[in-house]
Amino acid sequence: MKLNWFTRKGIIYRPASIVGWLILAIALAYAVYTFITIDSRSHSVSDTMINFVFNVLLIGLIYTVVGYFTEAERVE
């Protein structure tokens, strides 16, 4: 079964359906949640940022893997 949830533009996967938008919203919400959690227990700005950037990259990776497997086929 081919799931057409995302379309690819360069290295970024853009949502192409409601499920895609939902996944993007969950990813963004989780990124915000991690930022708040990290900020509450870190001691400096750099400590917060390095942890947050690391988490954002991991979230981006998981989002891209989902996009990779649910990408809409291109008609050329």
Binding site: Y13, S44, D47, I50, L57, L61, T64
Partner: protein, 163 residues
């Protein structure tokens, strides 16, 4: 009648194109995976190890001892010490680049086994074709560099601990 003769004469003198039956026929060499999609995923797979390596180089080789680069080591240490996610470090630093190498290699290589020669003496040929796709090759080389760096680090660490 004259026209017919002229036509026949022209036909007789026509240059026939030469065909070499031994020449390889043109063929479509399909790779297993899509090159652009593999490159897109490959970038995300090696961005974290590259980021970590950048921090290491900035800290140790260029002696930029800022909190930003130092915090990255603390983060990796904390990953190792946390029981539930201790496996995450090796996966990020080694397994993800290896996956990047595999998917990009599958996107640019074409492998074929073909029989050559006459009916009596057929020889099987193994042909590997590599498409020159800049991004895929660059990602493979970067991933190889990352994996080799970490393997070298682990080996030297083990040797120094044993000694």
């Amino acid at each position: 009648m004259k026209n017919k003769d002229e036509f026949l004469k022209q036909m007789e003198n026509l240059q026939v194109p030469e065909m070499d039956p031994g020449e390889h026929p043109e063929m479509v060499k399909m790779a297993i995976m899509n090159a652009e999609r593999s490159a897109a995923l490959g970038v995300w797979l090696i961005v974290v190890p590259c980021y970590f390596l950048l921090c290491v180089f900035m800290y140790y080789f260029f002696h930029i001892h800022t909190g930003w680069f130092g915090a990255m080591f603390k983060l990796m240490e904390s990953l190792e010490k946390t029981p539930g996610i201790a496996f995450l470090g090796p996966i990020i630093l080694v397994v993800l680049p290896v996956i990047c190498i595999i998917i990009n290699a599958l996107a640019i290589t074409h492998v074929q086994i073909q029989k050559q020669g006459t009916q009596q003496s057929k020889v099987r040929e193994f042909r590997v074709t590599i498409k020159i796709k800049l991004w895929n090759i660059l990602l493979i080389l970067l991933s190889l560099a990352v994996v080799c760096t970490f393997i070298a680090y682990v080996m030297t660490e083990n040797i120094s601990i044993k000694n």
